[in-house]
């Protein structure tokens, strides 16, 4: 079967087994690619001769160099090639739709970067019609902060797509995590680096620290030594338009009052 998937300027046309793609097509129905966006072709092929998977593909780190990313582990062999606009995954029949979804997430990260955007490890909260990207490594409190932001819409509590437009940068919802509401995008207003603390306050994040934090939260592409200089240059460009703060917060919803008071 064919699965068409896309966000902002990204688009994938995925050909593969119905049992793998049908569940994804149902869950990802909101992310139909725009007609004008040229898709990359992606083949997801069963490989009965492979040994069965011993772990989810999610645990396999992509090896990337110059926009060509490979994923190799028991039961899987995949490659995303930005230079060709093509990706393929051969997988043992025991592979699950979640494995395929992870491969498509890697493919989307590579395509987004190749086309001027960035996949970003962050929770996206739309507060007073402004988009805030709450970021930090695992355990920093993204999911907690997203939950505490109710009833504000949450584009995703783990991964956002950032895309440039004439007004600046827009953050887009992705299907790669939990969401609240049906909002699919919002103009990006600020980055908030989450810091668990006993007092709630917001301070600008020093430039060097901000650059390092943002770059290290750029999945897949931060691991590409040839693309990493451009990743960092792109973040520098974003930082010239979008401020980056450290949000020291505790487990209660009052932090938005502080954010509103400080950032308006």
């Amino acid at each position: 079967m064919l699965l068409k998937f896309g966000i902002a300027g990204t688009a994938l046309e995925v050909q593969g087994a119905t049992e793998w793609l049908s569940p994804l097509r149902m869950v990802w129905a909101a992310w139909t690619p725009a007609a004008a966006v040229v898709p990359w072709s992606v083949d997801v092929l069963p490989a009965p001769d492979f040994s069965p998977p011993t772990a989810p593909l999610f645990e396999t780190l992509p090896r990337c160099n110059g926009g060509v990313c490979t994923l190799l582990s028991a039961g899987f062999e995949g490659c995303v090639d930005a230079t060709q606009g093509h990706a393929y995954l051969q997988a043992h029949p025991h592979a699950t739709p979640a494995d395929i979804g992870y491969f498509l997430r890697v493919t989307l990260a590579v395509q987004a970067f190749a086309r001027g955007g960035l996949l970003f490890h962050a929770a996206g909260v739309v507060h007073r019609e402004k988009g805030y990207a709450l970021f930090g490594l695992s355990g920093s409190g993204k999911t907690t902060a997203a939950q505490l932001s109710a009833p504000d819409p949450v584009l995703n509590d783990d991964l956002l797509l950032l895309w440039p437009d004439s007004a600046g940068w827009t953050m887009y919802a992705t299907p790669f995590g939990k969401r609240r509401g049906n909002v699919l995008s919002a103009p990006l207003c600020a980055f908030l680096r989450l810091m668990k603390a006993s007092e709630v306050f917001v301070v600008p994040l020093p430039c060097g620290r901000a650059l390092g934090e943002l770059a290290s939260n750029t999945p897949v592409m931060v691991g590409d030594p040839l693309c990493l200089p451009e990743v960092m240059a792109r973040w520098e460009g974003i930082m010239r338009q979008i401020p980056v703060y450290a949000l020291h917060f505790r487990r209660e919803p009052t932090f938005w009052e502080v954010v509103d008071a400080e950032l308006g």
Binding site: P206, C207, G208, R209, L211, G212, E213, A215, S216, V222, G223, D224, P225, L228, P229, M232, A233, E236
Partner: protein
């Protein structure tokens, strides 16, 4: 354990950017980063595989008008941390 006779070089895989007087170093293999102040930046810049840590400490002490013994101790400790984080890599001594 490093000594002042050791020679180090910057990890060639590391990607660096200067930002407002600091050096951001990102290691693609690990996806981790460190931010170095001006003195730390000089240590990394001077670690070319040819200079010893003693040479580097002497240059930094001169540049920053600081006490050589204190700088040497700081450079030794700081270089050890950067080696643990693989920002700096040891260079094998030349065989005699």
């Amino acid at each position: 354990m490093l000594s002042l006779d050791d020679r180090l070089r910057a990890n060639p895989a590391a990607v660096t950017r200067e930002a407002e007087g600091e050096l951001v170093v990102v290691l693609p293999e690990h996806g981790k980063f460190v931010v170095l102040n001006r003195v730390g930046m000089r240590v990394v810049q001077l670690a070319d595989g040819a200079r010893s840590l003693r040479d580097i400490a002497a240059l930094i002490a001169e540049e920053f008008c600081a006490d050589m013994a204190q700088v040497a101790a700081d450079v030794l400790k700081f270089s050890g941390t950067l080696c643990e984080r693989q920002v700096l890599l040891p260079v094998a001594p030349p065989s005699s």
